[in-house]
């Protein structure tokens, strides 16, 4: 195993371990709200730093930074049977969130995996949720 493979492995292990700095807006800092009801806690990368936003029952709507590219990662345990526990990581990169807007981060199970999607909550959509286009990821 060369050093590059070792570093890649360590980086992957760190990204899956769920560690990240807590993020909270500074006084007066504009934010967007993301509903995390389907994801629970979320890791996101911004400016090469990794942050953790904790969510759960009763705290689903959480503030997020605006105007910058955000890379979201959600890893969930999705099931178990006799000797196995199954988890799946979904990733989504948003070019930027807009201040004052409300979003919904959707974690969906699909055949052979999972996916993460971001929607803006808006009356402009016939169903009240408008998909946000993803951009190429740059995980930290």
């Amino acid at each position: 195993m060369n050093i590059r493979k070792l570093l890649c492995g360590l980086g992957l292990a760190a990204s899956l371990s769920g560690c990240g700095l807590p993020w909270a807006p500074e006084n007066g800092e504009p934010t967007a709200i993301i509903n995390l009801r389907s994801t629970g806690s979320v890791l996101f990368c911004m400016d090469d730093k990794r942050y953790l936003v904790v969510a759960g029952a009763g705290i689903e709507n959480r503030p997020f930074p605006v105007g910058r590219k955000l890379n979201f990662v959600v890893t969930k345990t999705v099931g178990s049977d006799y000797n196995y526990t199954y988890s799946c990581s979904g990733r989504f990169a948003a070019e930027k969130l807009e201040a004052g807007k409300k979003y919904y981060l959707a974690y969906e199970l699909v055949q052979q995996g999972c996916r993460l999607e971001l929607y803006e909550q808006t009356e402009d959509s016939p169903v009240g949720l408008r998909p946000i286009k993803s951009v190429p990821r740059s995980d930290c």
Partner: protein, 136 residues
Amino acid sequence: MKNCFAFIVVLGLSACATGYQNAALSISGGYTHSEGYGKLTKVEFFGNGFTSEERVKENTVRRIAELAITAKKPYFLMYQSIWQAHFGVTAKTPSSYVIGIKPGAYAYVLFLDEPAPGALEAAPILKKWEEIEAQK
């Protein structure tokens, strides 16, 4: 003798499959639903390892039809994802997956008062299930 043994095995396995039940009241799976995905309702059905993927999809549609009748909405539009709902891509079957050996299915639903292109009617779906139950 062989046929008899196979019949007993199949009968035994089918008896272990997740029944049509509320998931909150069972450890082997069942249906659940939640509202508030924009204007959509998400309906899910989880099965155990003895339940087929086809059965969890059928049970999901059955539960959607029940919810529609309860809400006094005779029709519904079914979508496999929110993304498809936004773009008006309706589905005749829910989205499904298998985790290990356990299948699950879900759909996003918009309940309607009137028929619309791509909409399904709840009453005939429930009637079909009543006939199936009556034959048991």
